[in-house]
Every structure is written in structure tokens, then in C-alpha cells.
């Protein structure tokens, strides 16, 4: 008779995902039951927002996700704009998409580090985090902050692009693109990674839709679903890019989707550099503390690096937001789906599966 051993995986970071604990029942190396425990990063943002005006609240929302704060900012700003009917200038939309795609690239680099690290390939994180820093340098120059940008506000963006910024973006894109084949050789073609990733944590297409899987994990099942294409926001309908799909639905397919999407992001950024229009970058609102938001409700979503990132927002005509509910992709991937995926998996694969699903506790708990 086999003996069941209980192990707590976490709450330390299992890579770069954030503090989260998974309670595992093991028989030998095989997991028979997994239960997630979150709450280590709960900062009650949704509650804090209720007591702050829209413009004050915008400084909070970016903190919901560390690797990728911008979809939060964009979602928040767009939700407010949709409810109040605030028009965003064209240039601001282009700048927003530039920021979003840069942030996606940065997030994928960080993911690459986490995914490789959790498979034991430690050269990749050194490289990818290093290259991510070049993107952070761009963010620093554009927004004044490296990680929390607080840049996309209701009405547009806070500052115009600095002089010569797009040239530097272009340089960084060249650099990152030139490095991608090296990552291929080092990581995506790596026999060790392939060996461990292919066939691990498979999601089949029906389950994926049924369980609310979004983003790269869904596209890795061969379903071309991308918010940028399905429900175009900002200026995505004017841009030329492919929705990447892979077959297999396993860890490796998900990795390949992300790898190929990096190329798409670079492609999008190059289009933005080429076609960005001139004009104002912000629509003025009244003094932020006085700005009464029209009563209304909306659900907005962006395609973040981990999938559909949605905000449900309700306003009641006061200066404050009545309710802001964040639907992070990790909320679905990281709790119920992860629990199911881990059943039958090997202990050594837990961190890899978590990374592959895009588990991000800060957005589960908010």
C-alpha cells in the first residue's frame, strides 16, 4: 500500500509567479491531489478603489500585476472612458498599444526566465531578464518608472513620447529580434525542455473553452482566440498581426505560442513606429477630484501576456467607482485549473506547470 505524503509547494516563488502555496498530496513523486492556497499578496485593491477618485485609483491598479502592469492601466482607463464617454485622441491610442506590446514583450521575457528556470535551465533567465531590462529602460524613459508605469490614464496617456524615443524602441526591437534565435537554440529547441514539456499538462480544446482558459494556453490548443482580434480595442483593428496557434495543448505548445507571439509583438511595434500619427496625447478632464463619473457599467478586456484580462466596472454617478472587479487570467488558470492539471503530474513539474499556465497570485488576490 502506498503512503500519501503531504507537501506544501510554496508560498515562496516557484519561479517568477509570485507568492503562492500549493498543498500537494503525493504518492511517491506523483501528485494525487492538489489544493491551492492564495492570500499572501492580497492588498485589497478593489476595496481601496472604492474610496478613491478615478484618477487616484489609477495609481493603484498597475500594482495588480508586477510583470505586466500596463493591461491593468489600459483596462481601467478604457472602462472609465467607456462609461463616461470620454474620447481618447488617436495618438494616445497608438502610444497605448506601443506600451502594451512593449509590456507584453517584457512579460514574455520574464516568463521565459521563469519557465526555463523551473526546468532547470538557468542560463535563459540570466539572458531574458537582462534583455527585459532594455525594455524597462524604454519604459523608464517614457513613463518615469521601470516597473509600475502609471502612464495610461483615463483620457489618454500622461506624457508625449520623448524626442527620438521611437528610434530607441526600434534599436531595442532589432536587438531583441536578433537574440530570439539564440533563445531558440538555448531553450525552445533544448532537448531537456522538450523532453519535460511535451505531453505535460495537456488541455484539450473542449475543456479549455469549458473551463474558461484564455490566452496562450487556449491558443496552444489550436483555438485562435485573441482579444486583440476578437474584440479589437484601441487600434488593434488597424494593425497587421497573426493570431498564433499551436497544436498539442501541452507545456511545450504553450511555450511555442509565446515564443512566436514575441515576433508578432515586434511586428506590431514596428508598425506603430512607422505609422503613429501626430496630435494631442490626452483629453482633458475636469480637476480629477471633482470628476463625477456618469452612472453606468461596463466590462472591458485586453489581451495580456497571460490572456484575457478583464475589468468589470460599475459607477453610480459619484466621483468614486462603485465596484471594480478584476478578472485576471490567472484567476481561472491558477486556481481550479491548476488543481486539476496537477493531479497526476510529477512533483518536479509543479513549478513548470504553474509558469506555463501563467499563474500570477497578485491578480488572483488583488
Amino acid at each position: 500500500m502506498s503512503k500519501v505524503v503531504k507537501i506544501f509547494h510554496g508560498p515562496q516563488h516557484p519561479g517568477i509567479t509570485g507568492n503562492m502555496s500549493v498543498e500537494l498530496d503525493l504518492i511517491g513523486e506523483t501528485i494525487v491531489k492538489a489544493r491551492t492556497h492564495v492570500g499572501y499578496l492580497h492588498r485589497a485593491f478593489e476595496k481601496l478603489v472604492e474610496r478613491r477618485t478615478a484618477m487616484q485609483a489609477f495609481t493603484i491598479v498597475c500594482r495588480i500585476c508586477v510583470p505586466e502592469p500596463d493591461p491593468n492601466e489600459e483596462n481601467f482607463a478604457r472602462a472609465i472612458e467607456e462609461i463616461t464617454g470620454l474620447e481618447v485622441p488617436e495618438r494616445a491610442k497608438w502610444i497605448r498599444v506601443l506600451v502594451l506590446e512593449l509590456s507584453r514583450l517584457a512579460a514574455y521575457h520574464l516568463w521565459m526566465g521563469g519557465q526555463a528556470g523551473s526546468t532547470g535551465l538557468y542560463t535563459v533567465p540570466q539572458w531574458s531578464v537582462g534583455y527585459r531590462d532594455y525594455i524597462l529602460d524604454l519604459f523608464e524613459e517614457l513613463t518615469g518608472g521601470r516597473v509600475y508605469h502609471m502612464y495610461i490614464i483615463p483620457g489618454g496617456v500622461r506624457r508625449d513620447l520623448p524626442d527620438g524615443f521611437l528610434d530607441r524602441v526600434s534599436d531595442v526591437m532589432d536587438l531583441i529580434e536578433s537574440k530570439l534565435p539564440e533563445f531558440d537554440r538555448l531553450f525552445f529547441d533544448n532537448a531537456v525542455f522538450k523532453k519535460r514539456a511535451i505531453g505535460t499538462a495537456v488541455i484539450d480544446p473542449e475543456t479549455a473553452i469549458e473551463r474558461g482558459v484564455v490566452g496562450p494556453p487556449l491558443r496552444a490548443c489550436g483555438i485562435a482566440s485573441d482579444v486583440r482580434r476578437d474584440d479589437p480595442y484601441e487600434i488593434y483593428d488597424k494593425l497587421d498581426f497573426d493570431v498564433i496557434t499551436e497544436k498539442g495543448g501541452d507545456v511545450y505548445a504553450r511555450a511555442l505560442v509565446r515564443r512566436r507571439e514575441m515576433e508578432q509583438s515586434i511586428k506590431i511595434i514596428r508598425q506603430i513606429i512607422k505609422y503613429i500619427p501626430d496630435g494631442p496625447y490626452r483629453t482633458k478632464i475636469p480637476y480629477p477630484m471633482n470628476w463625477k463619473l456618469k452612472a453606468g457599467e461596463t466590462y472591458v478586456k485586453t489581451e495580456s501576456a497571460r490572456g484575457e484580462f478583464g475589468y468589470y466596472m460599475v459607477t453610480d454617478g459619484s466621483e468614486y467607482i462603485r465596484r471594480m472587479n478584476v478578472r485576471g487570467p490567472a484567476y481561472v488558470h491558477g486556481v481550479s485549473l491548476l488543481e486539476d492539471m496537477l493531479e497526476g503530474a510529477q512533483l518536479a513539474d509543479v513549478a513548470m506547470i504553474m509558469n506555463s499556465l501563467g499563474t500570477c497570485p497578485p491578480e488572483i488576490e488583488r
Binding site: G144, R185, I285
Partner: protein, 605 residues
């Protein structure tokens, strides 16, 4: 995926070996400190000179990081609260919203972001006073208007086009609609710096907030707390509040919050004020106060003393109370129904206004006169709100010719609907608001008007808007011209005016430049009328001589103490005859001072 050997997958990772021995691309040796981006959001820096202590930074901060504190050496003054921000780095999240709402641009962030100290209190400091070393490295700033989170553009006020304006005495400014007023009110940050400039210290942010919330009745109640003639102020106030509005630092005077128009808006929302205010004057306490002069200061005293239970009687020489706002200000700026509405409200609380009643010294000669001595005897206190009624003369040759007149009698005649006798061409001399009223009134009679002023246009004491509108209406401005002589024809009528051009000479003592006549630069302008609008003085002829002496007039003004009382016991004074700013809102402020003074005096406090 079978168990076959993935040769490529095994070999290709080893390509990374080519980087062995190469320099890392992230860190350079010897160690180079990376330069921070120009927009970096680090510690706060503040220019204490530029800062006006509005507290927008403290208000917008979502972490309550900023406290507004007193700083030694900085006193409150007009347009400056005297407070300065103090930042608690235990709470700051470096969002820089404080910078983006700073109206003066004094608050910035530096690119410095590392500070290590074992004393937690050193993380609580007043930028600009302490840690000045950060000022070398300016980071995040708010430079352009679009960067600023403040709405810097005033909601435009609709006004009658100039070619229509000159045909009518109907009110030229149309006033805000409800949406426009709310939108304009939303721009206000509620800092209260404007209060520092208002002689009357009106509760400006509070009534603007009420407008923003759509509570117009509440707004009127707040306004009436210390101003019994708000609609007048809402139309013709000299609005020093607006010139000290924090928005002016970035957007100029024309984009200050339209405090005056908002007040006007609130007041115009109601046909009458009785219901809105629903005041219950206290029962009469048996004390009586006589008010000489029904101008803004006198009406203020009468109104608020009546509310406090004093019996107040206003003696007004003219057929209608209102003082200069009735007699001096043209009706296209301040229509009579609007004045009536306010006078009716003042009367409704029980103030008695005796119009057409002149106060004289000695025995009254007719029913329309009352003797000052009798007033002094019958009433427990007397308030002098007599204003400036005697126009000053130019002091040049030919001033007594027919057609040489003064602005004030002209305006008064027009305002009371009397017929005036003016020709085709007129020259108005002066650069103040009275001169502007005068030229614009004359334009409405179809007169070709030239305005002569001894200094430059920028030196004119008149309101910029008035100057602008007068020009729109076709008034010819001739600045740096000094009248020398009025030339008459054989019938003793004005034929022309001789002026001498002047140049501006800087004052060696650093004062404002003086106009100095250019030798020989004479011009003669033909005209039918010369109208002097160079100022007025008070008329004390109705007072008994011994009282005038006791009043101890200084440069024609009545000195008063902090209670508004003159040097004669029981006689209080206020308004243009007392203060040097000589505008309606100062008169109201004087009135309120006297209300307090009289109340204290009569209740024996």
C-alpha cells in the same frame, strides 16, 4: 515524441558557449553608474518661492502622503496660503500626480531615488527646505499644458457681438447655462487661495462646490453669508479673486476659474431670494442705526444689522438705492431688474430705505432733507457710506466751456434715464473703469469716441475685459497723450482738444514709469465733447463742520479703527470714502466690519 535521440536539441544549447569569456552586456567594468532617465520619478523637490500652498498635491495624493504645514519665514499673503507640502516617504508611491496637479509648476520630482538612513523621521521632510541637493537632478516635471491634470481652459462665456452691443443697453454678457456652469465649477480645485484676495473673504470654494453638485440654493445661501449684493458682484466685481486664482499661474488671467460668472450664475437661478434663503431676522431689539448712503457698504450694514435685530434706515439721496452700482455702472453691465431683485430682498428682511432723501447739515429746507444732527440724536449709531460723488477736474484751460463735462454726472444721467446732450465726437480722458463705462455708453449713443490716457495701455487701471470690449465696440485708444487745453469756438462751446504726446520714462527709484510730455509734440483733435474720467472724491459738505474736523480726514478719506468706527464715537464709516481700493466688494467688506463694530458697540461688548 518517441525515445529517439533529439540530436539537435542536445547540441544546440551548447552554442551559448560562444559567450564564454565575453563581457556581459548588462554590467560594465569598471562599474559605471547608469544614468537615470530624464522623466524619472524620484524624491520631491519644491520651489518654495514659486509654491503658493494651494494644497492640490495633498488633496490628490491617494496615500495621504502630503501634509500642508507652516514653514518659518513664509507668511500667508494675497495669493499664497503660506503653507508648504511636507512629504512622508513611508507612504509615497511615486505616482507623481502631485506634480501633475501643481498649478505653479513648483513641485517636481528629482531623479534621485536612493536614500538610506537609520532615522525614520528623516523620511519625512519639506521639499525645498531640506534635502536641497536633489534640486540638481530634476526628473519628472509638468511642463506643457497638456501634461497638467488641471483643466486650464475656462468655459467660454457667451457675449453679444460688438456690432449688436453698441446698439443696445441690454445686458451684453449672456451668463452660463447649467451645463456650462457645472463644467466650469468642476475645474475648481477648491484650494481657497482666492479667498486671500477677496476683501470680503467670500466662501468661494464652498459656493463653487455647491454649484458643481447642482445645489444652487445652497450656493446662494453660502454667498449670502457675507454679501448682500451678490448678483451685482457676480456681474461687475473687480474680481481680485480671479487674478489670484491658482489657474492663472499656468494659464493666464483669462483662464482663471470664472468665479464672478459662477456667482452670477448661482444668483440668477432664482427669481427672488426670500424663499431660498428663508431668513428669520431677529426681533427688533430697540436699537436704531442710521445709514447715510445706499451704496454697497450702506446696504451691507443695513441688511446684516437688521438680521441681528437692529432697526436700520438707509438715507439715499438719489431716487434709487445702490450707490455707484446704480448711478455709475452702465445698465448693459448691471441691469436695473437685477439690482431691484437684490434691493427687494434687502427690504424684505425689514430694512427701510428712504430714497430721494438727502442728509444735510443744519435745518432741513424741504421734506426731502433730513438734518444730520437729528440723525445723530435719534439713532444710536450712524454709518457713513457716502462714497465718492464729486468728480475731479482736469485742471486745464477751457474746462468750463460748454461741452466739457465729467464722466460721473453723464453716467448718472444715462442710468436714471435722463436725456443727455452729447455731440458727434467726444474725447474721454482717463484709463479707469469709469472711463471705460463712459466710452462704451457714448458708443451706444452713436458717438465717435477717442480715449486719451497719459500712460500705456498696460498701465490702465481698468479691467482688461473692459478695455478689450471697448476696443471691439470701436473706441479709438490714444495712449500716452496728455490734455493741455480745451479749445472753444466763438459761442463758448468745445471745438477741439489740444493734447501733448508723452513718452514713458523709467523711474530711477524703480517705481512704475512716468509719462513725460514730449516737447513740441502737440496735437489738436476736433471734438464736440471732452469728458473727464480721472477720478472722484468724497463730498463732506453735508456734515457739520465740527464733525468733519473730528473725523480727521486724511487725503480726503475717513480714517476708521478696526471696528469700522471713525474718530467720532457712534459714527461708523466704510466704502469708497474710507478704503483706497474703492470698489464694491471692498465696500461690502467695510460694511461687514462695521456690522460687527456697531453690534459690539451697541451691545456694549
Amino acid at each position: 515524441m518517441g525515445w529517439g535521440i533529439d540530436l539537435k536539441g542536445i547540441v544546440s544549447p551548447f552554442t551559448a558557449l560562444k559567450y564564454l569569456g565575453k563581457h556581459p552586456h548588462t554590467v560594465r567594468y569598471p562599474y559605471e553608474k547608469k544614468k537615470t532617465a530624464k522623466r524619472y520619478r524620484g524624491f520631491h523637490i519644491n520651489d518654495l518661492e514659486k509654491c503658493v500652498g494651494c494644497g492640490n498635491c495633498a488633496k490628490i495624493c491617494m496615500n495621504e502622503t502630503i501634509d500642508m504645514v507652516k514653514v518659518e519665514g513664509i507668511e500667508p499673503k494675497t495669493g499664497d496660503s503660506g503653507l508648504r507640502p511636507k512629504v512622508d516617504y513611508g507612504r509615497c508611491c511615486w505616482c507623481a500626480l502631485c506634480v501633475d496637479v501643481c498649478p505653479t509648476g513648483s513641485l517636481k520630482l528629482s531623479t534621485d531615488y536612493v536614500y538610506v538612513d537609520e532615522d525614520p523621521n528623516s523620511f519625512l521632510y519639506i521639499p525645498g527646505l531640506e534635502r536641497k541637493e536633489y534640486e540638481k537632478n530634476v526628473g519628472w516635471t509638468c511642463e506643457t499644458d497638456l501634461d497638467s491634470l488641471l483643466d486650464l481652459e475656462r468655459v467660454e462665456m457667451k457675449i453679444m457681438p460688438p456690432d449688436e452691443r453698441v446698439k443696445t443697453f441690454a445686458e451684453a454678457v449672456y451668463g452660463y447655462t447649467v451645463e456650462e456652469a457645472k463644467r466650469e465649477a468642476e475645474r475648481c480645485t477648491g484650494c481657497g487661495v482666492c479667498i486671500s484676495a477677496c476683501p470680503d473673504r467670500m466662501h468661494i470654494p464652498d459656493y463653487i462646490k455647491a454649484i458643481r453638485d447642482g445645489q444652487f440654493d445652497e450656493s446662494v445661501r453660502i454667498i449670502y453669508d457675507n454679501n448682500p449684493l451678490p448678483e451685482m458682484c457676480g456681474k461687475v466685481c473687480t474680481r481680485r479673486c480671479e487674478f489670484n486664482c491658482i489657474m492663472t499661474h499656468r494659464a493666464g488671467k483669462e483662464n482663471a476659474i470664472a468665479i464672478r460668472w459662477l456667482k452670477r450664475f448661482a444668483c440668477e437661478q432664482f427669481e427672488s431670494y426670500e424663499e431660498v434663503l428663508n431668513l428669520q431676522p431677529q426681533p427688533l431689539n430697540g436699537k436704531k442705526v442710521a445709514i447715510v448712503g445706499g451704496g454697497p457698504s450702506g446696504l451691507t450694514v443695513a441688511y446684516y444689522l437688521r438680521l441681528k435685530g437692529y432697526e436700520t434706515v438707509v438715507f439715499e439721496e438719489m431716487p434709487k438705492a445702490g450707490g455707484m452700482t446704480m448711478a455709475g455702472i452702465p445698465k448693459y453691465r448691471f441691469p436695473i431688474p437685477s439690482l431691484d431683485k437684490q434691493l427687494n430682498h434687502i427690504k424684505s428682511v425689514g430694512v427701510e430705505i428712504r430714497e430721494n432723501t438727502k442728509v444735510v447739515k443744519g435745518e432741513p429746507k424741504s421734506n426731502n432733507e433730513v438734518s444730520f444732527e437729528k440723525l445723530k440724536e435719534e439713532f444710536d449709531a450712524v454709518f457713513l457710506g457716502i462714497g465718492l460723488t464729486q468728480p475731479m477736474k482736469l485742471g486745464v484751460e477751457g474746462e468750463d466751456l460748454e461741452g466739457s463735462i465729467q464722466a460721473l454726472p453723464l453716467l448718472k444721467a444715462v442710468n436714471f434715464g435722463e436725456k443727455i446732450n452729447v455731440g458727434q465726437k467726444a474725447v474721454v480722458i482717463g484709463g479707469g473703469n469709469v472711463a471705460m463705462d463712459c466710452v462704451r455708453v457714448l458708443r451706444r449713443f452713436g458717438v465717435d469716441v477717442t480715449l486719451s490716457y497719459r500712460r500705456r495701455e498696460v498701465d490702465m487701471p481698468a479691467d482688461n475685459e473692459e478695455i478689450h470690449e471697448a476696443k471691439e465696440e470701436g473706441v479709438v485708444f490714444r495712449t500716452q497723450t496728455i490734455p493741455v487745453e480745451i479749445i472753444g469756438d466763438e459761442n463758448g462751446k468745445v471745438k477741439a482738444i489740444k493734447i501733448q504726446r508723452a513718452e514713458m520714462v523709467p523711474d530711477p527709484k524703480g517705481g512704475r514709469p512716468r509719462p513725460v510730455p514730449i516737447e513740441g509734440a502737440y496735437e489738436v483733435w476736433e471734438c464736440d465733447n471732452v469728458i473727464a474720467a480721472i477720478g472722484q472724491k468724497a463730498d463732506y459738505s453735508f456734515l457739520p463742520d465740527d464733525i468733519v474736523e473730528k473725523l480727521d480726514l486724511q487725503w480726503g478719506k475717513i480714517p476708521v479703527n478696526e471696528r469700522g468706527m471713525t474718530k467720532v464715537e457712534g459714527i461708523f464709516a466704510g466704502g469708497d470714502a474710507v478704503n483706497w481700493t474703492a470698489d464694491a466688494i471692498s465696500a461690502i467688506a467695510d460694511g461687514l466690519k462695521a456690522v460687527k463694530g456697531i453690534d459690539e458697540y451697541l451691545s456694549g461688548k
